[in-house]
């Protein structure tokens, strides 16, 4: 064990490890802030859906031969997020069903394209990377870190400034609309922000982990806390904490990053679930 800690100390001196920790924590923070709203709006799987859309867009970009794929990936993902979240309450199809539909289609389409027009030698590794994250979180450049920092600052600021409206729109959209709050605008803001966070996170951690970062902290916090603010704060702390722990553990023991974090979060969820049971049981 002491060996492992010594090893960790040495690793922490490497810039790429520091970069991974910074970016991991920021992604965890951003996705958990929106997680509460998304879970409550029944959009738990939007992380999966949108990252598959991004994967589909990426394969199109690769086939077309674009040098900077972000120009196609970002707009396509944002448009999909807007369309999905906009359907909301008036939709003929429930949110989770349309997310599943788009998710599966985009993944299949992307994989098909890559098979028909192979650009890299190992297609299944690419798909695996989409799901579980490649090792790219450990190969970040300083520039990529700065982009992540910038986007995270924007995300957190937007969330803080619109926090009260996001609560109102999530809690009771009709009431908010009746009192003149521009609910479409806030739904749009939520959609754009989540799309940006997901595209940012997808390369690094994979869609499995994005979904986990959206779902687990929010659900764990909701087991124990009862107000929107306490749930939001708690899920942010849980998300950042597990991301940090998971990253360190995966560096120490050489396990894959994404699955390590997901397992840590599942364990925490179990603990919170039991605490919620005991706590709620005593009160009644």
């Amino acid at each position: 064990m002491t060996d492992a800690f010594l090893k960790l100390g040495q690793y922490l001196a490497f810039p790429f490890v520091q970069y991974a920790l910074i970016v991991g924590v920021l992604i965890a923070l951003c996705s958990s802030l929106l997680g509460v709203t998304l879970v409550l709006k029944r959009f738990s799987f939007i992380g999966d859906g949108l990252s598959h859309v991004a994967f589909g867009a990426m394969s199109v970009a690769a086939v077309v031969g674009l040098t900077n794929e972000m120009f196609i990936v970002m707009p396509v993902t944002i448009v999909c997020a807007v369309l999905l979240l906009r359907t909301g309450q008036h939709a003929k199809m429930k949110g989770d069903a349309s997310v599943a539909l788009i998710s599966v289609f985009a993944l299949a389409f992307g994989y098909l394209l890559m098979n028909l027009f192979p650009t890299s030698s190992n297609v299944s590794a690419d798909v695996c990377g989409t799901l579980f994250g490649s090792t790219s979180v450990l190969t970040l450049t300083a520039a990529e870190v700065w982009v992540s920092v910038g986007l995270s600052v924007v995300t957190v600021t937007v969330f803080a400034v619109f926090y009260n409206r996001i609560f109102a729109v999530t809690f009771d959209e009709n009431f908010a609309k009746a009192t003149g709050i521009r609910t479409e605008l806030y739904n749009l803001i939520i959609a754009v922000v989540i799309a940006v966070v997901i595209v940012l996170a997808m390369n690094l951690v994979g869609s499995l982990l994005i979904s986990a970062l959206i779902i687990f902290p929010a659900l764990s916090a909701m087991r124990v806390f009862k107000s929107f603010l306490s749930v939001t704060i708690c899920s942010a702390i849980l998300s950042v904490g597990t991301a940090l722990l998971g990253l360190l553990a995966s560096i120490m023991f050489g396990t894959p990053v994404g699955p390590t974090i997901v397992v840590a979060q599942a364990a925490l969820f179990l603990i919170f679930w039991i605490v919620g049971l005991v706590h709620g049981g005593v009160k009644q």
Partner: protein, 234 residues
């Protein structure tokens, strides 16, 4: 002063009109009760007046000085999910947000308004409780407090007493009446014609034959006579 005037409204959804040629108006301080059978379009009318949906034809005019956000609203069923984490305080305070001006955070006067309305609805003891853990009657009072935070001018209530026991129902009616006495205009949808006749000063009956007029006129009308006959038999 006239606060709201609806002229020749046609209401409905994509698949056709539900109500045609509906005209009525509301003055400041009025207590209008809207009655009619299930499915006659009462909630649809309310959604249209609130601007949540557009009328198929006709127009809705707001009186001078009445903005879009000066209308408070108590929905028929709030589709709040069972697991939504929100404290009573957060729910009531959210009523102070409106399209009028953009403050990112609640101001001191917002908090004061929320406190006052919590007190008025007798909810002080529940302030930090979770909304989802309250009884139906308590939840209705929380939503009424939220509506009062949005406005002091005009409040629309869609069947505010559904699911409440007789005692709490009476309390709710008294509460609404006291608001009306303070000068808040009330528009209430109700299946309870007895209560409508007792508390309101105007009645709008929709579905089948449309009637709009004072309570006195209503009791003299065909629909009203039907109702008084039923009452007499009790």
């Amino acid at each position: 002063m006239e606060q709201l005037r609806c002229e020749n409204l046609t209401l409905g959804y994509e698949n056709g009109a539900i109500l045609k040629n509906l005209s009525f108006s509301v003055k400041e301080g009025d207590y209008l009760a809207i009655v009619g059978e299930n499915g006659s379009g009462k909630s649809t009318l309310m959604k249209t007046v609130l601007g949540l949906m557009k009328p198929l034809a006709g127009k809705i005019e707001r009186g001078e000085g009445l903005n879009r956000w000066d209308i408070g609203y108590l929905p028929q069923q709030t589709i709040v999910q069972r697991d939504f984490p929100a404290s009573v305080w957060e729910v009531v305070l959210s009523g102070t947000l409106s399209g009028e001006k953009f403050h990112p955070f609640y101001t001191r006067s917002d908090r004061k308004t929320a406190s006052e309305n919590i007190e008025k609805m007798g909810l002080e003891a529940l302030k930090n409780r979770s909304y989802r853990e309250l009884s139906g009657g308590q939840q209705q009072r929380v939503l009424l407090a939220r509506a009062l935070c949005a406005t002091r001018k005009i409040i629309l209530l869609d069947e505010p007493v559904t699911g409440l026991d007789p005692k709490v129902t009476l309390e709710m009616y008294e509460l609404i009446q006291s608001l009306n006495k303070e000068g808040v205009t009330i528009i209430m949808i109700s299946h309870d014609v007895t209560a409508a006749v007792r508390y309101a000063n105007k009645i709008l009956h929709i579905g089948g034959h449309v009637f709009f007029g004072s309570v006195k006129e209503y009791l003299a009308s065909a629909e009203g006579k039907l109702f008084t006959a039923k009452e007499a038999r009790k």
